[in-house]
């Protein structure tokens, strides 16, 4: 239930700072405008260097506020696009992982353990999370490495990294086709469409 106002991500932080600036500048713009109006009410004239300077400041501040608002809007849009991309990527990665697990014919328990290995848990932590003995997890991990033809944790993880980083767009596309052919037929194999 921790409510965090100060965001950890850079873009969100920028958006917050931008919003704060907009607020401050809007208040400044208001006070200059009010000042101009009050001066005018007292003196009844709009010329004179003081008035001209203040009017220019008021106009500049208002223009600045609107400009910053448009900038903030752009930033928020960019963040939304990035978020969507991230979600699509997550969905794709989950599909790729599923396809691999299917191909290696991992059991349900092994799938769980394999996923936790990918997430960076060590054997003891996995045993704790799954309420099993550390020995059981070690045996399951050995099975997983054997079925995936890797020689251990590092190579197992790098298998997926390699998949993410591999080749140009052409080969990635052909690979996607490839996995959807040999992988299990399922609704999620083309999440973009």
């Amino acid at each position: 239930m921790k409510a965090k106002f100060w965001p950890a991500r850079t873009e969100e932080r920028r958006a917050t700072i931008l919003a704060g600036l907009i607020l401050l500048q809007a208040v400044c713009a208001l006070f200059f405008t009010v000042d101009v109006i009050e001066d005018y009410r007292h003196d009844g004239q709009l010329d004179g260097p003081h008035m001209i300077l203040e009017s220019i400041a008021a106009v500049a501040l208002i223009g600045g506020v609107i400009f910053l608002m448009v900038e903030l809007r752009r930033l928020l849009q960019r963040m939304a696009v990035m978020q969507t991309g991230l979600e699509v990527a997550r969905g794709n990665l989950a599909d790729v992982i599923d396809a691999f697990f299917e191909e290696w014919q991992l059991t349900n328990a092994e799938r769980d353990v394999a996923l936790m290995i990918l997430k960076g848990f060590d054997n003891e932590a996995i045993a704790g999370l799954r309420h099993t003995a550390a020995g059981t997890v070690r045996a399951q991990a050995t099975n997983i490495y054997a079925k995936s033809a890797t020689d251990g944790r590092a190579q197992f993880i790098s298998l997926f990294m390699e998949e993410l980083l591999a080749g140009d767009i052409g080969t990635v596309a052909s690979h996607a086709e490839d996995t959807s052919k040999k992988g299990p037929t399922k609704e999620g194999s083309s999440p973009v469409g």
Binding site: M1, A3, K4, F5, E12, A15, T16, L18, A19, G20, I22, L23, A26, V27, A29, L30, F31, V34, R41, V65, I66, M69, V70, L72, R73, L76, Q77, A80, Q83, R90, L93, A94, I97, D98, F101, N108, R111, D112, L115, M116, K186
Partner: protein, 192 residues
């Protein structure tokens, strides 16, 4: 088995976190609340500070109105049009037990938003009028300033009550959403 893998890989298991309130909306909301609180309680009436805080409140509402035209999706007028018909419809479905979640303001809350903005504008304008020679000491202006402020306090109380009620009813922690910007929608809830 599939879903199991998906659940683990999605991290946060049961709830969907959706960004709804951008930082400008949140800052304006809490700043406006602060100005109302200050001018209604500790700041002396007829002081210069009272005037300045009042103008600040006006500026905040003005800024929010501009943002409602150029801001992101959930901050726009189109996300929460002022429609009594929709509010009544919403009330009916709510009583009937519908628990879908509105990402922006729900139709009933939208009416409250417009009510509060209009009240603040009315208070600000009558407050300004009291400083002008033409309207200084004119009874109806002063009376309106005070009556509308009473109405605003009543509205704020209703607003807080509505937030508490909706948080309890929908399970979406609305106060937290106005602080972090994210609504955490419980799984299986329809989103409007």
């Amino acid at each position: 088995m599939m879903t199991q893998t998906k659940n683990i890989s999605s991290g946060r298991a049961s709830a969907r976190d959706i960004t709804v309130w951008d930082p400008l909306v949140r800052l304006i909301h809490w700043s406006l609340a602060l100005t109302i609180l200050l001018n209604g309680t500790i700041i002396e009436d007829e002081s210069r500070a009272h005037e300045l805080i009042g103008y600040t409140a006006l500026a905040l509402v003005g800024l929010r109105l501009v943002w409602a035209f150029i801001g992101p999706q959930h901050a726009r007028f189109t996300a929460f049009p002022p429609s009594p018909r929709r509010a009544i419809h919403y009330l009916k479905t709510m009583i009937a037990g519908d628990r879908s979640v509105h990402l922006s303001h729900n139709p009933l809350g939208a009416l409250m938003v417009y009510n509060i903005w209009l009240s603040v504008i009315a208070i600000g304008v009558t407050g300004y009028m009291m400083t002008t020679i033409t309207f200084f000491g004119v009874d109806w202006v002063e009376e309106m300033h005070e009556v509308v402020f009473g109405w605003l306090l009543f509205s704020v109380a209703l607003h807080v009550g509505g937030v508490v009620f909706d948080t309890w009813r929908s399970g979406v922690h609305l106060v937290r959403a106005m602080i972090t910007g994210r609504k955490s929608v419980p799984e299986g809830r329809e989103i409007l």
